[in-house]
Amino acid sequence: MSISILAICYIIASVTYILGLKMLSHPATARKGNLIAAGGMTLAIAATIFLYTNDGKPLGNFGWIFTAMTIGLVLGWLIAKKVKMTAMPELVSFFNGMGGACAALIAIVEFDYMYRANLNTPDIAFSSVAHFGHYLAIIAGSIIGSTSFSGSMIAWGKLNGSIKDVSFKGQHFLNLIVLVLVFGFAVYTWFSPAGHANIPFFITVFLALVYGVAFVQPIGGADMPVVISLLNSFTGVAAACDGFLYNNKAMLTGGILVGAAGSLLTILMCRAMNRSLKNVLIGSFGGTKASAKAGPATQKAIKEISLSDAAMVLAYAKKVMIVPGYGLAVAQAQHSVHDLEKLLVERGVDVKYAIHPVAGRMPGHMNVLLAEADVDYDKLLEMETANDEFKTTDVVLVLGANDVVNPAAKNDPGSPIYGMPVLNVEEANMVIVNKRSMKPGYAGIENELFYSRKTSMLFGDAKKVLQELISQIKEI
């Protein structure tokens, strides 16, 4: 009887995942969808603890299980609540890595059971004593889980800045060799004597960890969202492999669902940046690919604007558009920008935000960031709407954005970002660009916008600059 209740709980859980994901893809229902999926997950976990039976025996070691769950609960809750909104992308990567590691550990323990069950026949090949389906699930779960774990950790490190982009010639070839070795050892484990199958198995796991590092390492920081989404779907598949092992439909459906949805999401993200997945994965976008055309040398002079002039221009403009970018997120300037906006609105200026879908390091990054500072939802314009409005805009204030306002995407076919939809800020009367320095953005290419006659540069940290602008405008 308890088995069938468990099965019903799992069915309900699977339905909540499907509903949850579906609702998550519409703005109005997204939050409810998340809660529904969380509810289903709680049900599945509770049902497993109390109703699952292994060969007719209920589960034991409750003390251990609850201790571990409490540790995970408290840690997870604290980390998720404390971390700043700007660090969300790397946090997703971190949690994804935890899931990958969990999947890999399960597969490793199950391998250990399988290995020990066959120790009494140490000289017979593993393939003739072990169950093929189980081995397949174990090896796939451990390889994918390990790769996802190490890859996510690298992505996490790259996003919080502790790991730098390193790429060298022949790196992709080396990665391919590691991948072939992973598969080679996986097959070798299957055919090796049952008494010694553990050594090639652990080599396989180790190489999978190495592969995760090697796979993510050459990919530039700006492409991390795509990589995290891909690793996310990997972890889903690893979870599904473990589900297969236990004949557990809740794990199988949840894992495969995330695997499939994650892959599609990865492709959608690439499409939003107008790049192919292949280009992201082996493009190694890291400053090496300068624009084919260096741009006309005569235009290479930039014009700086002083804070007081900038304040004056903004205060007396009729219509101002703010283009936020990653620089704003780094400087934690979302509240300052909201203050500036309020101040300008009080003075009768029409202030809007132009949000490029991939500004920042994650699609939707800017929406989340500005939402944190209570910026009105109505003031956030999507790219198409914003592009219609630039023509009638007096001043565009670009805050730490670069590639998303680069006109090279429209008129330089040799540029690596050619074809990416961008914000047409150059159509406005005047553009003020706030940056920390003249360093190129993540795509590692020059931006001719900065040399345009319409553009004035305002160097400095976004938060400091905004605060000074605010005090200057107040004095006017």
Binding site: L24, T48, L75, M98, G99, V258, Y377
Partner: protein
Amino acid sequence: MEAISSFLQQNLDMIYVVILMIFLGFEIINRVPSVLHTPLMSGANAIHGVVIIGAIIIMGKAESDNYLALILGFIAVVLGTLNVVGGFVVTDRMLEMFKKKKQKS
């Protein structure tokens, strides 16, 4: 070859589930606005935390002298819980902000 065909035979229902889920996964999130890419990814991230069920099973069935299973299982449960709890809480935090905006406007 024989191993593969018997594998297919034994797991036919699982294979059906897998194939249907793949199509469902694709269908569900088609046409998602780009603003929701990050929360959706985060939500999906939380859902694959279902792997914790496997970790609980590992822990729950381990004999008291099987230290490898106990230790690795313990770590797996901690990590799995982190994934589930962290994933859902982070997603909720992201979406909370969108929601607040909506009501205001």
